[in-house]
Every structure is written in structure tokens, then in C-alpha cells.
Amino acid sequence: MTFTIPIDNGDALKNSQRTLYPYVTGTSIVAIKYKDGVLMASDMGGSYGSTLRYKNIERVKAIGKHSLLGASGEISDFQEILRYLDELILNDNMWDDGNSLGPKEVHNYLTRVMYNRRNKFNPLWNTLVLGGVKNGESYLGMVSMIGVSFEDNHVATGFGNHLARPILRDEWHADLSFEDGVKLLEKCMRVLLYRDRSAINKLQIAKITEEGVTVSQPYSLKTFWEFQAFHNPTAGAQGSW
């Protein structure tokens, strides 16, 4: 997918470069609010086009004391965003005054960054998921590469929107226990693993509560490939080619 630039304002002369298309990408992130905070799941893959090239990429990171950031899309842009947030949190900590940036503040800061980059036709090619807990209140929001931003009880990016959200709409409810939350996320991740070709079977689930952030060790989901439909996949596909 190319990002067309309708106006030519002599960028070539100035030797500047705008983002045209992504290179190394991460696939879906799925996140839900639960009883004690927020759970976020992602696999550890970085695709290079259709090649599943990198298999150890952490796409969910802790931000300060109160937030968790997950990203899909261009990995290098995600790393750039982490650098911006690092500076933001550092400056916030340097004040040392009892005030700290919570998930709402970080989410809005990111929305401003993404939207402003989009306005310059030089987007950070990511869809970001920001979750966190501050003063007992859970927060979960999303920002896209064009600066669209909103909050919800459950969010997903990319393919997750199409495959995971319907499951969450049916089965999410308030005050999920940690175990139920993980089970729900694993259900979504399993569907994505079967159906999203950029997904790999190595995932991490991160949790954030008032106490802080924990990111699980990478693990795999059990899969079942003995469905009848998989045995003779072309059975129903009669055709001349």
C-alpha cells in the first residue's frame, strides 16, 4: 500500500524523506480492561512483507509507572515513539513533585504526535494501544496513524479489529478475573493465529495494575489442525484453475 502525496513541494530538492510505506511490521494487538486493570496481548513477530523475519520483537512496553504501550505497524516507528515517551517520562520524573503523567495524559500526548505527523504527510506508521491504571481507575485507549483516537473497554489493532473484537463484544464483561481475562485474550489470539498469516505462535501477555507492570515470558498456544476442512482444503473449490 503506498501513501500517495498529492502535492509536490520540492522535497527532493531539500533531500527530506517522508514515510511512504512500512517495512518491518508487527501484526495485531488485543487489549481488555479487567477487574484489577488492563491486559494486553501481542505476538512477537516482525514481518518483512510476507516473510516472517523477526521472531523476538517485544511489541508491548511499560511507560512510566502507570502505563503500557502496545504497537502494531512499522517497528522502527514504534521504537521512535518509545524514545519520545522516554524523554517525556524523564522530564516528568525530573520535576519530582508528586505529580505524574497517567495513562490519559500519555494517550493524549500520543494523539497529538500522531495527528501532527499525519498533517505533515509524514506519519508514524503505527496503531498504538495505550492502557494503564492510576488512582484505581483503569484506562484503555487507541491511536491510529492518522490520529484517530478513542477509549473503550476492549481494543484491538489491524486484523484484531475484524477477528478479535466480535469475540470481545460477545464475551467481555466488567470485572473479569485475571484468569478469565487471560483465557479470553488467548481465545482471540488463537483465532488470529489460525487466520492472520502474519501472526506467529509466540506471544506475550502484559498486565498493568495499580501495583505496576508485568510482562509474561513468551509462550505458545496449543493449536489443532485436524479439522476436517483442513484435510482436503480444495474439496469445495471446483474451478478451471
Binding site: 505529580n99 505524574s100 490519559k104 500526548y109
Partner: protein
């Protein structure tokens, strides 16, 4: 303070390590009409004396809303105060826009203090001639700060600046330990009583003072004349009847101005001039 050969430039030190221009700027604050601030754990009240140039004109605006959760009262060169209030409003709204969250008042006063410091270290500038009482809320509760033309800032439980502020400060010094747990109504009453101290015997009327309140769950707003007059009535009547009761010691406060008047004038080096 007398004129000397080190006081022309703000960038000239005196041999005793003083910047006279900065000190002169702080004198300007002392000449302005009084402004008072006090806080409890949950509320901040700012009050000031309304002084008009003449009977024909309206009084100067000395208390400004910076944001729903921050207000500022000024004393000194009100034009400088207006400009700094605009700066504070700008900082607050920019923070709000980027983070969708109110700017912590402690960070605002540091920005303000740094801005004031710049003017004490440039030969082509002069210090701001205004003292600011900044009241606001942040995560750790209600705060009251005083920002000086020198670029210093201090946090207070209660403070008064401007002419005859010593009288108010003496009143506040006696009572401040109880302010932390004061109710909103008691805080307002103490503020108006402190304003009365600075009037040195002049009858306190609601037209003579402006009072503003902000607190947890209560955005910054001014109290209307009626409300202020009602509070005044609760203690003015008692003072007239010379009753010593009503638990807050209004009679004590009523008798105090007579003594404070003498004490206040004695404290100032220069005869106070009205703004």
C-alpha cells in the same frame, strides 16, 4: 532604601551582593493594594481590596482566573500582572490541550518564576513589578504560592501582599494552623476578616473587596457581592454589639485593628501609597 551608584542597572551587583533594581521591584509590590490568599487541604481562597483611582472610575481587576483549577491575585504594577496572567493562561491551556489534564499548579509557578528570573539577568529588561499569589489544585491537594519579582517562589498556608498586608499577616499568623482542616465557609470568613485588617478601621463593605474560591469539585469562581455581604454581616453585627462570643473571636479581631493600625504603619519604611 536610598539611591546609590549600583542601582541603575539590573545587571549591576552592589559590593554587598545585592541587585537593587530587583529590590526596588519588590518595593513596587508593597505599594500595591492588598491581596490575600489562604488554603485548606481542599480549597484556596483569594481575596483583595478594591481600590479605584477616583470615585468616578471603576476599580482595578486584581484577581484572574487562569484555569478551572488555578487562580491568581496580584499586587503591584497591575499591567505587569495582566501580562503574566495571560502567560499563565496560555501555559495552562497548552498543557490541557496536549495532555487533556489540568496543569499542576506547582509546575506553573516554576515556569513563572523562571520567566521572572530572566528579567533579572538581562541588561535590556526590567524585573516584573508585580507579586503574584497563585492558588490551585494538583494531585497532592490545594496549594498557595507567592511569586516574587526576584524569581523566587514560596509555598504558603496563608499569605498577604501589598500595602498594609502586615496587618493581615498578623491576623493570619494567629490562625493559620487551623486552616488545613477548615471548612470552605470558615476559610472564606477568615479571608474577609484578613481583608478587613488591611482597611485599618474603615468599615468593611462587600463593594470594597473581591473574593474568589476554588477547590476540589469546585472550579474557580468569584463570590458575588450578596454572598460576601452576608459573611460580613455575620461578624460586623457582633462587633457592633461588642459581644465577645461566637467562638471565632470576632470581638478579638474587631479590637485588633486599633492596635494593628499602629503596628502596621510602623513596619513600613515608606508611608503607604494607594494603588
Amino acid at each position: 532604601m536610598f539611591r546609590n551608584q549600583y542601582d541603575t542597572d539590573v545587571t549591576t551587583w552592589s559590593p554587598t551582593g545585592r541587585l537593587f533594581q530587583v529590590e526596588y521591584a519588590m518595593e513596587a509590590v508593597k505599594q500595591g493594594s492588598a491581596a490575600i490568599g489562604l488554603r485548606s487541604r481542599t480549597h484556596v481562597v483569594l481575596a483583595c481590596v478594591n481600590k479605584a483611582q477616583s470615585e468616578l472610575s471603576s476599580h482595578q481587576k486584581k484577581i484572574f482566573k487562569v484555569d478551572d483549577h488555578i487562580g491568581v491575585a496580584i499586587a503591584g504594577l497591575t499591567a505587569d500582572g495582566r501580562v503574566l496572567s495571560r502567560y499563565m493562561r496560555s501555559e495552562a491551556i497548552n498543557h490541557s490541550f496536549t495532555y487533556e489534564s489540568p496543569l499542576p499548579v506547582g509546575r506553573l509557578v516554576v515556569h513563572l518564576a523562571d520567566k521572572a528570573q530572566v528579567c533579572t539577568q538581562r541588561s535590556w529588561k526590567r524585573p516584573y513589578g508585580v507579586g503574584l499569589l497563585v492558588g490551585g489544585l494538583d494531585e497532592s491537594g490545594a496549594h498557595l504560592y507567592y511569586n516574587c519579582p526576584s524569581g523566587n517562589y514560596f509555598e504558603y498556608q496563608a499569605f498577604a501582599i501589598g500595602s498594609r498586608s502586615q496587618a493581615a499577616k498578623t491576623y493570619l499568623e494567629r490562625r493559620f494552623e487551623s486552616f488545613g482542616d477548615s471548612s470552605r465557609e470558615d476559610l472564606i470568613k477568615d479571608a474577609i476578616l484578613a481583608v478587613r485588617e488591611t482597611l485599618q478601621g474603615e468599615t468593611l463593605k462587600s463593594s470594597l473587596c473581591t473574593v474568589s474560591v476554588l477547590g476540589v469539585g469546585e472550579p474557580f469562581h468569584f463570590l458575588d457581592q450578596e454572598t460576601i455581604q452576608k459573611v460580613i454581616d455575620t461578624f460586623e453585627k457582633v462587633a457592633e454589639d461588642e459581644e465577645g462570643e461566637a467562638g471565632e473571636g470576632e470581638a478579638e479581631a474587631a479590637a485588633a485593628p486599633a492596635e494593628q493600625g499602629g503596628g502596621g504603619a510602623g513596619d513600613q519604611d515608606v508611608a503607604p501609597m494607594e494603588m
